[in-house]
Subunit: 236 residues, 2 copies
């Protein structure tokens, strides 16, 4: 941060995988932001004015200009911070290698989200806080069952990636690891990660979650839903 | 293309908005590829080996290396072609302006896709060709109704964008216009675009669809489902 300038603001939700991904990226690049917890289901008019689909996260820079969504934000931060970070850059140097990292960011923040994470977070977390007229209430057990079945397939793929590569997307830690770990951490909080079916993923995940950037995420708690006991344990 | 090298191959489906988006981009940058029509529901093992989620499109370069998915492909082509295309580059020069283009690419290829396009294409096109055991059969009318209601909301936003800006994402034509027009063209083929509710979107769309890159898309036909009569009309 340049002294004298206001901090940037990040609109986020603690159980949004995309929000966690961007928070990890900001922290890895040493960018200090002010966090504002947004509840997307409230559809606040002033939030919809900057994010018409109520998508999270949104970064508002010092000039008041918003950057909306995980994928635009990842590229924006890569261009404005990553490119200057030399060997701490979270993207490889070559276009084909970058494409593989982006494929996995998309996999964990769009596909895993739509197959698994969105439904579990909605049913088990958002519904606790939502009023009945916005769709709050008890979880839909068919939705939970479907998401959990999908999660077993996703676990197999994550475990295969972790077993065949040092890091998921590149030779060193990259945005692919942050995206995967962000999503896994949301699921793990709720006890929805079938670790018993994995051989290689636990070692990969404990390497990512031991990073200082992860600490603030592991210390957050959702009201009315304590995390499973191993959640913040660095060498489970 | 360098003479003597095999062409790159693009695995695509004519009714996949993301596939159309990448085909437009390739054509705008003068990249000639061999097209291979993939039916994602067949889950061909050799296709799953390069695209584990059966995502489309996939570009396989001359060395056999795949680039999977619209978002990694858009960035890959921007880095390897767009950056050299000077004033024909489909991305603006400044990071914040690029973020706005990416937000809209995401809006049309992820949000519109998940709110509207995916359900209408599945119910009205894929089910015609799918065998019953893969989910083929007659359309689910609740799914059609939900998608059409969402489309009216999306049309309002598209119309607002088209009415307040020369092009959707930047001062000149950009990836945002290609993404939006790719998705709209899939919906328009099926007569699912509520043009009567729009004031500004028709002018924007006819400017995009008049480009030479659009012609091959407008000439394609889906077996058993002819397009609506105005579909290929350049000044409807």
């Amino acid at each position: 941060m340049t002294p004298g300038l206001a901090k940037m603001i990040l609109y986020h939700h603690p159980m949004s995988a995309s929000s966690r991904f961007v928070r990890l990226m900001l922290s890895e690049y040493g960018v200090d932001v002010e966090l504002y917890e947004e509840r997307p289901w409230e559809r606040r008019p002033s939030f919809l004015a900057i994010s018409p689909g109520a998508s999270l996260p949104v970064l508002v820079d010092q000039s008041g200009y918003p950057v909306v969504g995980a994928f635009p934000l990842a590229e924006y931060l890569d261009e404005t911070r990553g490119a200057m970070a030399r060997d701490r850059r979270l993207m490889p140097d070559y276009p084909l290698a970058r494409a593989e990292v982006r494929r996995l960011v998309d996999w964990f923040l769009v596909k895993l989200e739509s197959d698994v994470t969105r439904a579990l977070v909605r049913e088990r977390v958002f519904k606790l806080e939502m009023p009945a007229q916005s769709g709050g209430g008890s979880p839909n057990s068919a939705a939970l069952r479907g998401a959990r079945a999908n999660m077993r397939q996703h676990m197999r793929y994550l475990d295969w990636l972790a077993g065949t590569r040092d890091w998921l997307g590149a030779k060193t830690i990259s945005l692919a690891d942050l995206a995967a770990a962000a999503a896994i951490s949301v699921l793990d909080y709720m006890g929805e990660v079938p670790w018993a079916e994995a051989q290689h993923a636990p070692d990969w995940y404990s390497r990512v979650k031991s990073r200082p950037s992860f600490r603030p995420l592991l210390n957050e708690r959702v009201r009315g839903l304590p995390p499973v006991s191993h959640y913040a344990d660095l060498d489970f």
